[in-house]
Symmetry: C2
Subunit: 304 residues, 2 copies
């Protein structure tokens, strides 16, 4: 059994590779819920949805979120009626949000709802939210304190970041199965998601960090930084604004003693000399399905 910790698109690429490389059912993904929010009365879990769509083969091939074969009638109509259209919700995507919102309103937990959706989408991989209780990323910026989606989508990450908070995390407990999966895993893989906004909320749940510290199995992280640049998203900008070098080394040092193995691009290996974790140079850029599978196999070979 392998456990992967993942955010959205970056992590989902490796998660898909791992799901394909492993026997069905041998992968458990612990998903970031720090991006979750309520919008238009709908309970939206962007990273869980990206994982669901990716593992079901329904993900949009290019845009990094949402579904392929999507239509936009509801959003077009909402805009025409003067409603908020800065967070794009496709018609097919809406169906999933409606079902989840309804199930949560009926008292089901996010982990139960996520398991139901995964089953209905025919996904063999277990997808667990880091926590059932709300954990919400909030950012201190030069434009004030902003909820995550206000910063990330509405303002397109343009505010200058000063600090991050994960509201609710300290009091949250890992969702059922999370610490059990980590304790039983032969390895834990930290996917190449943003270390701050994607992994931060997961690691801020006290029981999860403790389970990672306690396991005898190797904890392996894949760098989201290649040659001083983020593959996608605002990771580089955020690191710079937090006063960190934009480098694979800074990511490895951010994870510190939590990880045993750090997989980085061969070009970044020289700069990593002396970090606590074992360095594994490997091609980590995932452009297509073959890249995802190859990196997943390399990760699995590394952890033995």
């Amino acid at each position: 059994m392998i456990v992967a910790l993942s955010g959205g698109i970056g992590g989902a690429k490796l998660a898909l590779g791992l799901a394909c490389a492993l026997p069905a059912g041998d992968l458990t993904i612990v998903a970031n819920t720090g991006d979750d929010f309520t919008h238009l009365g709908l309970a939206i879990s962007p990273d869980i949805d990206t994982l669901l769509y990716t593992l079901a083969g329904l993900d949009h091939p290019d845009q990094g979120w949402g579904r392929r074969d999507e239509t936009w009638s509801a959003m077009d109509t909402l805009a025409a009626l003067g409603g908020p259209d800065w967070f794009r919700l496709g018609d097919r995507d809406l169906a999933l949000h409606l079902l989840r919102t309804q199930a949560l309103a009926e008292g089901r937990t996010l982990s139960r709802v996520t398991a139901d959706l995964a089953r209905r989408l025919g996904i063999a991989t277990t997808i667990l939210p880091a926590a059932d209780a709300p954990v919400r990323t909030v950012l201190d910026t030069d434009q004030g304190r902003l909820p995550f989606q206000e910063y990330f989508v509405h303002r397109r990450c343009s505010p200058v970041l000063r600090a991050l908070h994960f509201e609710g995390a300290a009091a949250a407990r890992p969702a059922p199965g999370v610490t059990e999966a980590i304790a039983a895993a032969r390895a834990v893989v930290i996917c190449p998601s943003n270390p701050f906004i994607s992994l931060g909320p997961i690691l801020a749940v006290p029981g999860i960090r403790a389970a990672l510290a306690a396991t005898a199995a190797p904890v392996l992280a894949v760098s989201p930084i290649i040659g001083g640049q983020a593959v996608k998203g605002p990771t580089a900008k955020m690191m710079a604004e937090l006063g960190l070098p934009v480098s694979a080394r800074a990511v490895a040092e951010h994870y510190g003693a939590l990880i045993d193995i750090f997989v980085a691009d061969p070009a970044d290996a020289p700069d990593l000399a002396g970090i606590a974790a074992r360095i594994v140079p490997a091609p980590i850029l995932m452009r297509d399905r073959a890249d995802k599978l190859a990196l997943a196999r390399r990760v699995l070979e590394t952890v033995g």
Copy 2:
């Protein structure tokens, strides 16, 4: 100023005719809210929506509910995910329900939300819900007590009706503007909607019935029955199950002293002899826009 009391499609046809026949802003429609319900977490007001779409020229030309140029991606996806698809919600229609649900959740009243939606849709006619507080039609049937949409849509009116209740009506107050509009109107028109499920919930709000009784202006009803048959919907079946003759006369007697004028098909006029209201024979079947306008003009001429 004319006030029209209306349910969904049957009433909306005449309401559209009146809106076209009158100067802009001279019509106030009081809409049935007994069909309203919460479905998939969404606050849905079917008769208000039919009126909004009809008066905005967005109504579906044939099906009697919903929008023209509709798409069904969300509903198809919901069905594929095993969600409830017995109440058909189009993608464009969903946008309106999302906006209303959100606005109600923020504490706005149904009348305020309805006014906002009408304004955004460019509608000059005032559309008022009968009441802001929930009034819910519940039916006693041979299959037990059923909420309205469960009876009407899910079970397609197949249960045998024994009695109707309008939960919340006795304690509800007319929405702001309703009794004022009735008191100021030069005539009140009861549209050819179902007298029981469409007009029943409106008339069950105590202040509305009192305002109709108090006004010196004529109250005119248009028959929803032509030659012993309902133009559309379950009116005939319901009347038979309630032990009433399926006739224009039974409708007129149902309204009783509430109405001053009863407009019925010329073929039904002989059977109406002796009712309390003044009988006005007129072609009342509205197949197209010209029919709607002609009937509206006839109604307006009649009330003077």
